[in-house]
Symmetry: C2
């Protein structure tokens, strides 16, 4: 806290100037929205207002990285609704009120940058990524054509090519798109696989196509089923392949189920292997799976939303061996392990032209064919979206600031931290690992058994009580606001903690803290 | 320009302080990314770096509103690729280089806030909306659960309810979601209609469902067909209904085609009426269409992505009469006519629980059922996406700053400007309107005939030459960078200008300027 104040003392000249400027303005900063730009002579008031907002944000950022600050100031929904006036009114508020709303919003927000926030696969806040996102908001444009987003369209082109080179596709050739999240990227993948096998589906729909079957491991992300439901394929056509004890798809079961589906008259069209499952962080054996896909002529997709980034690490990329064989496409979310601000999800496609053929509708009012520049840069018609948010700049700018080696170091450090956690608890009293062996990703899955439960004889009763431990500890973490980590059941396994590390701010000490905190909050259970 | 400098002279204390602070730091601002937060003692360098970025952004904003500035500094793709080093490298750059990249990116960006930028349906830059987007980036979280986005989830709840009240649904009851754009919102609508009629489609896919038919006007947005292709319905099942001369769907043709489809064995399930078509800005007759939908028990959707916002205007809301009858849902994009920064698109759904039933997959690792708060605020499982960007805060904060009456005034002003343009050119020499009568939205569609073409006898030759006029004028506009307006053909109508006004910065003088500019750039053609 002392440290934090001192920085803001240093920053105060900027704030002091703005306050002085504001006082000179008629009505001060607290006057009206209509005084801002584009109002005539609105510049000064606008700059002052935006600077005030930036000061609030800078204070929030410093605070977020301070371990003395709470990760969250938690309140139950009904309570939070009453703690502030959040209603929308007919009448405008003053700019002072707007600043108050900004402060209130951040007061109750979760500090996703906090070094002890481990709750999601996307954590942390990169300063260059943040700056890039501020710039993106200011540029406020749309990805559909080169005409309205010349630089961003080129940067998407440059970045996708680089990503394809890293995967190992020849000369970085292929296609791709940044989409609003991994679920949509996976849906695109399924859509492209179906179109590639049965192009008539675009015009004639599923009634022109035999009954399809898609395959994915029982540990895969729910977006595969969600996509199948949306695309009219149906969730029953998504066949779950058994995973081994550590969460990896069992290739022999895949082959068996492909044959079974064929026998039942289904046409197998799509296998989605997962590189980094959500709960265990398991990497499916891509080479063996791709061999089966080749044998049965099924399109091979890799959902690397969580684990795809490991390809940037010389130490860990072997876990993705075989990814270059993904004949069609790969989902890779830089907003997870690369800590790019939300959201930033890439779908990489091997075949040039496929996305365009699959999705284009030739809307002449948007994609005029008689424009004066090279139309191959008008990427809008290959997307499912019409308008598309600019998600590329933050990734591109971070890449420039870190270099490929910087991303590698960041990824390696997170994996090192998770190995530290694993080594710390694997033989510690009161802990049980959910699966044996060193985790492949940063996911460390474990049960914490409070002292009173450790020597219980009745296995069923013990299981029942253990199921309630993680939810209570988690609720207490949130109420104290000290740290946050996720939990869930899986199959017949009762609730366990799933620790994941993607936050570049986390250190060994934060891992130690997490363990101490679990024990402090759970010992009486 | 003079005015612009003077503001920055005033702002310079802030900048000067930052520069001084930077010089005191070892290595200055131009040192390394790894000096920033979360590095120990990274606060000062971080604040200095972010302040430098903000200074760049503030300068860009002031410039964007300055009519003396170019809308775009246009370069052809290959040329732009060579004008700067955009490549991604292994090695990191310095923070000074990062600032240079930020400046370069903005130098070649399109100034979408510019008062003379009319190119898209989404134009302008609202200062409160921008501040809110900066805050959103800083909060860097995800909409799936209350746990990770408590305030934003509540604000989405409050705002959707307010929007439903404005539509006129009883007590604002219903559901909804902010999705990544109108195309995805429309796809959701079709997905929900199909599920509502045939819930078994979720599990069993389209093979369990009879051949479906969807109906939309020939002037509707291409996302209806795109959605049908993706959902496995097929574009041939989207039946185009004739529009009248002003672009409105002809209800009699809808009824005829519904009957025809039934006779052919199709099951009509979905009618998408458009409130504000993309090119003409036409409002389909919603009451007549809803009567037909009721008669034939077809789900009635309104695509109000462009025109839905007119419901906030007491003067213009009559154009949406009947929208309250949309039994299922409505697409409404505040990022268009309400000038909320991109992107911000709402889908409003009348029936509570429908989205949840249609899309939920019960992923226990994300939507734990034993959490300690009211789970109805965990909205993630009703979405197609898993992670979902926070699009709500900018709309909510702008609404607070303007009030409902502020949005109304902004919308009314844009419509007033378009009426001014219409009145100005409808009888002016060298202009021909594409359709007769006052436009219903801000779309003004017209041909400009250069003097040499006005009295051509050969109608076909004239048409052929006229087709090339708008593209050339547009290319010249971009090369001079003075203004930008869209053009396209429609049906058998050759290329015409489609002027749209959603930019709150535009004035009568800017409309005058546009006309002068078209004449200046086109007189020699």
């Amino acid at each position: 806290i002392a440290h934090y104040s001192s920085v803001f003392d240093l920053l105060s000249p900027a704030r002091a100037w703005c306050q002085a400027a504001a006082q000179k303005l008629p009505g001060g900063i607290g006057s009206k929205l209509c005084d801002l730009l584009p109002a005539l002579d609105g510049d000064l008031k606008t700059m002052t207002f935006l600077q005030e907002v930036v000061d609030i944000l800078l204070a929030y950022i410093t605070e977020s990285f301070d371990r003395e600050t709470k990760v969250i100031d938690f309140h139950y929904p009904n309570e939070l609704l009453q703690r502030n006036n959040w209603e929308l009114q007919d009448e405008p508020e003053t700019l002072d009120d707007i600043l108050i709303s900004c402060r209130a919003t951040l007061k109750y927000a979760i500090k996703t940058a906090h070094p002890r926030y481990f709750n999601q696969l996307s954590t942390g806040l990169d300063m260059v990524g943040l700056a890039a996102d501020w710039l993106t908001s200011t540029a406020n444009t749309n990805m559909f054509t080169y005409e309205v987003a010349p630089v961003f369209v080129l940067l998407e082109y440059v970045t996708l090519k680089k990503m394809r080179e890293i995967i190992g596709w020849e000369d970085g050739r292929g296609d791709g798109i940044f989409s609003p999240g991994g679920a949509i990227s996976n849906m695109y993948a399924m859509l492209l696989a179906r179109f590639k096998m049965f192009p008539e589906v675009k015009e004639k729909g599923m009634s022109s196509v035999p009954r399809l079957a898609a395959f994915t491991s029982e540990h895969s992300h729910f977006s595969i089923k969600k996509g199948a439901a949306a695309l009219g394929i149906g969730t029953e056509s998504v066949i779950c392949i058994k995973a081994d004890e550590s969460g990896k798809m069992i290739p022999a079961d895949l082959e068996r189920k492909i044959l079974e589906a064929k026998q039942k008259g289904f046409v197998p069209f799509f296998v989605s292997a997962t590189a980094g499952t959500t709960v265990y962080g398991a990497f499916d054996p891509l080479i063996a799976i791709s061999d089966i896909c080749k044998k049965y002529q099924v399109w091979f997709h890799v959902d690397g939303a969580w684990g795809g980034s490991l390809i940037m690490s010389r130490m860990h990329k072997w876990k993705l061996d075989g990814v270059e064989r993904s004949v069609l496409k790969l989902t890779w979310n830089p907003h997870k392990m690369m800590a790019v601000p939300l959201q930033c999800s890439a779908l990489l496609v091997r075949e040039e032209g496929l996305m365009q053929n699959c999705n284009q509708m030739h809307a002449c009012y948007l994609f005029q064919q008689d424009k004066h520049y090279d139309l191959s840069y008008d990427t809008g018609d290959k997307a499912l979206q019409c308008g598309r948010h600019v998600d590329i700049f933050k990734l591109w700018l971070m890449w420039r600031a870190k270099g490929t080696i910087g991303f590698e170091a960041q990824i390696d450090k997170c994996l090192e931290l998770s190995e530290y956690l694993y080594n710390k608890i694997k033989d510690r009293e009161g802990y049980e690992m959910v699966f044996n062996g060193k985790p492949q990703h940063t996911n460390v899955c474990f049960w914490y058994l409070p002292p009173g439960m450790r020597y219980m004889e009745d296995k069923e009763e013990k299981k029942k009580r253990l199921h309630k431990v993680a939810p209570v500890i988690k609720a207490r973490m949130m109420e104290y606001g000290t740290t946050m980590v996720s939990y869930q059941p899986q199959g017949d396994k009762v609730n366990f903690f799933r620790m994941v590390i993607s936050n570049p701010a986390a250190t060994f000490e934060d891992i130690d803290f997490l363990i101490e905190e679990i024990e402090r909050l759970g010992q009486d259970l």
